[in-house]
Symmetry: D2
Subunit: 301 residues, 4 copies
């Protein structure tokens, strides 16, 4: 049996682009981590070491910086689309380009009650992301935009239970009618179109996710995730699918009884590992095909 | 348009199981990080919060510890298969189980020239992995075994070039006829069968990967990866596919000329970010279908 | 020459204590990482393996949880002092106790414009810290309280220069009359007293540090740090000393000229390593002695 | 009361220098992480923003690369000393220089049973370190050399107990007559002289540390650390002091009794946090003063 080249792609990962807008004295900042991945006619590079069709990853990095000047003004979704279009339109050997952008958020330092024009402090650990994938390899050019958020650490101190579960020989867990529910949420959602007001959409999705985590009583993290995801799709017709991944960050009630102390849901041990990992998607019926939208480079091997 | 529950799975991630074999005075150790992920009939948990079909992740953790006693003796591939079989065979609501196991390696502390019977030191940063996926949801039960290695940091100080590449408006890179080539390799390979001497196979694959990195002259990391991967398939008929992911850990020649010093390939700056990221697969023609073998929980969203 | 036991201490590090206040429907949360370190008459444990005077680290962990119930209500400085007092007062073999507490901050999830009573989202990556050291080994009992903050990521996009520096044979750096100045600040300040409104003091110090980073023109990070630190001491008589450590997170102007683009301070590459590291202290004349206040367990060896 | 500038230092941290020796076809590699920190007459930089006496951190980085060419051949202790001497001898404003160097170790890739001349694989996670401090501020120039090792992960599966410890109100720990003892060792030792065969000394110290962890029965980690440290001083007259820091990486016996399984020391849960932290020093009587040898930049604030 013969051996063939299978899936392959290459690119430049984690180019750290910082863009300052200084047209007025009130500067703006966009702080980005950009990764590009190209697919196409690269068999010769693998099989023969022939680079004639290979645009260097160094060039991809240069392009990320150049585009931050030429096209950097908008939301990260637009910037990712512009880069993906460039690689598929202008480089003949490229049939598919994927551009992933993380954005770190800053807020103005408050001085005497108002935001300083050019001094900033990082606001939070949450990371906004966007991915654009353009495939020019088929009869029609296709594109996908996926936006996301991660490292959103959430906790509710009541309003969560876990009862009535399946038991087998190895089950020792007690039922919990009132527990802490905590997670570090990753959510990514795929748009059905690229005609979106990206920043407003992001803010709305984030707001819905947090509200639906907070408000309904939770009978399990599964239920809560589904409620969060389906609410996003209900609110925005332009989102075709949302995928959520949520570690169950366990908080165990400390046993204070040996010291004669009660502990009615007050003192907990926040454990690191292991953790439950709950993952689900909400999908709109009749949504356009996901194609390669969910194939992150990080999961190649 | 209505909204439906899409892909979903849940499990317990990163259970840290350490198994000591102490049947003789010469102890053995297996040090594992175990993650389980179940799919099946879990719509009620999402839609209604009904846990009647949900085996708790706490139980999955317990089972990992119990199986380390009951079935722990063999290679991690066998342990992963045993756990996956248990979940699909014994839990009615489970149609597919995936078990991922990382193994940390230890060597005996040398005392007066021989290995101590019960004292160990961690040997290296490389992590051996195994994944078993069993799908009982179709007409025939199917299974996949994927073994892997990661964090294998490799460097060759010559025997690597990068020349003749495509140039565009944004290309500034100089051709390099002699450079450092360095990476931190991730490789995973899928077996066509579960009838394998796992430990010997792992050792052989690791040895081939390193030798093929070392020996042939490299005209690009693409060529080197393909050469490494195809050599593995050529050597072992029982491997259907191998996937490789390799950051190009750039080493830039330090410019010492301002101080009147030459630098003929001697002093380099090892840079962190950005990095090239080269990924490819080698596949055997007619290999059985990969099914869900490559779908890591980490890439769900 | 004989060999003697030198400095020694032991304790429990990184106990993750979460305290929920649920006396009303509007819950409060304190999320802590607690480390204790004890010194005293522990020579027998080292020299003979005799544990008779050794309070187990497991007990220290238990005490951290119990005190979160019994004494947990106040600022982390008070909680740290209470624990340190307990160890030195109640355990005969302990002559000095050090308690370090990190606090992770949460804010309420906003629902319909108001904060939810029991659902929270982690607010930012900044970590507030407190350390209490009590030494009962001398003729008079002594105590020190050090508060701090770290992971405060700051950036100003103008108002910073670096010119007129010393040049030697190895100097190639160009003068910069307008550059990005960015850092991830660590600051710790030592109080001259324990009679402090800790939460208000923390808020004031943080505010001063940020304002003094933002406002004055910076001729070097050294000048900026001194200005930040000395302003804190000028504002609060109860602080004896402040120590600041600040990596210079370099942002290099991207060279876009090969593509015919200008770059007047707009597009930067945020580099990871190496980084400048600038450290200074501001001290009040006649301040009480620092004693062991600055000796972090992390710097023992 | 007036406010004064206190301790201050600055430098370039984590310059990643890779030095290849290619004088013959059998290349050698040294892979270093270099940090420099200078003290001296830098008050004007802080108080007035005057850089006239400030050698830029960029120059310090350049010097690290240049010295890897000019002086890089020996052990990292010699390289650190050479850099420290340069800064104190050649830069008038510098009174004290500290140079910290970490070294990452590589081994040759084995090809047909012998080591390849120019292809390497990272060998292990252990990091060798060296620090040189030279103080030219006093009447006589003084110097200190500290070598070290860290991330040495050790485990013994028997031969460890913890019994007879102090109990108080909060003590719940059971006595353990046979347990797993595991740690990730950090050790640093200060030489009494700079006339040392550094590589041989390092190998001997590492070997002693591991052997003394392995062989004697342990009644507590305190006893084991003391035994390890004092054995190093007993073996080498040129070492004045050694400091050890060792987290107690707890391995808890899994309770398998609910499933009808025994567990006679076979299956353990390796927990992450919290961990005991045991630290001690062994010091030679009459050893020269430690001066600033132990003051790591990482512990400044």
């Amino acid at each position: 049996m013969s051996i063939a080249l299978g899936d392959n792609q290459y690119g430049k990962a984690e180019t750290r682009v910082v863009r300052i807008y200084r047209d007025t004295e009130r500067h703006e900042i966009r702080d980005l981590n950009v990764s590009t991945a190209l697919r196409g006619d690269f068999a010769a590079a693998h099989l023969d070491g022939d680079q004639a069709q290979v645009l260097p990853t160094d060039t991809q990095k240069n392009t990320a910086f150049a585009y931050a000047k030429e096209h950097g003004a908008g939301a990260i979704e637009d910037y990712a689309l512009a880069l993906a279009r460039h690689f598929t339109d202008d480089i003949a050997s490229v049939t598919r380009a994927r551009v992933d952008v993380d954005e770190y958020r800053w807020e103005r330092i408050s001085v005497n009650g108002s935001g300083h024009p050019h001094a900033f402090v990082r606001s939070g650990q949450e990371i906004r992301s966007a991915a654009a994938v353009i495939d020019a390899g088929g009869p029609v050019k296709a594109q996908w935009v996926v936006s996301g958020i991660r490292d959103v650490v959430l906790l509710k101190s009541t309003g969560s239970q876990f009862t009535g579960f399946l038991r087998d020989r190895y089950t020792t867990l007690a039922e919990a009618s009132d527990r802490i529910l905590a997670t570090s949420l990753t959510a990514r959602w795929r748009y059905a179109t690229a005609d979106v007001a990206w920043d407003e959409a992001f803010a709305q999705v984030r707001s819905i996710l947090l509200e639906r985590f907070a408000v309904p009583h939770s009978r399990a993290l599964q239920q809560t995730l589904w409620d969060m995801g389906s609410a996003v799709l209900a609110a925005r017709d332009d989102i075709a699918e949302i995928r959520l991944s949520a570690p169950n960050k366990h908080h165990f009630l400390a046993d204070l009884s040996p010291y004669g102390l009660g502990n009615p849901g007050e003192v907990f041990h926040a454990d690191d590992r292991p953790y439950g990992l709950i993952q689900c998607a909400a999908v709109r019926d009749g949504a356009p095909d996901a194609g390669p939208a969910w194939e992150l480079p990080a999961s190649f091997a």
